[in-house]
Amino acid sequence: MGATEHTQMALAEDLFQLVREPIDTRAILERLKAPEDGALVVFDGFVRDNFKGHHTVYLEYEAYEAMACAKMREIGGHMRANFAIDRLAIVHRLGRLEIGETSILIAVSSAHRAAAFDACRYAIDALKRGVPIWKKEYFEDGAVWAEGEKPTQQAISRPDSSTLR
């Protein structure tokens, strides 16, 4: 199998999704474990039960879905271009999430651990600052939109040199 052919196959297997059901972490990780790789790095972001001293009851996520999907794919493209990784998945959940439920799952496989760690770190940082997704925190006595960062394209295409090398 030629190198180009291999790349195309790997790209076809990449997973970028916004979902409204619980994320099936186990199934995604099984899918990413290629026999030729030796490493799988996973970032599992889940709902915290507090925000600035307030007890969080649940969260709601919303997204500009078409743009968010496109930007997640773009992050995947940068991961491939900059790190020697094999398979990858970026899945974000939307709608109401209870405490402890996974909101974001990023998983990256590679032959050796460093590339997967670095790619995963880049992906979560880029997603948090460059993908149009919003979180509302619901407390017993009210709700607030989470304080976030002004979104930019640079977060995706020119991330910190500390993560992209």
Binding site: G45, Y61, E62, A63, Y64, A66, M67, A68, A70, H92, S103, I104, I124, L127, K128, R129, G130, V131, P132, I133, W134, K135, K136, W145, A146, E147, G148, E149, K150, P151, T152, Q153
Partner: protein, 79 residues
Amino acid sequence: VRVLFFGQLKEIVGSAEQEAELSEGARVEDLFERYGRRFPELAQFRNSIAASVNQEYAEWRALLGPGDEVAFLPPVSGG
């Protein structure tokens, strides 16, 4: 053009989607100013939000054309 609001902005405007008629040569910032006049609370977000045109980040000075999809994006908090 089609105009989309998300998060806090959607709550201020009271809807997620609007249609706007623009004169030729109108820019993203003109469109935002127009909504800022209708919804004064919106104007205070000018420096903390981003804009997109057809699902790509856009400058405030970007020119708009017929059929464009413009979105105003408050600070993001995914992950």
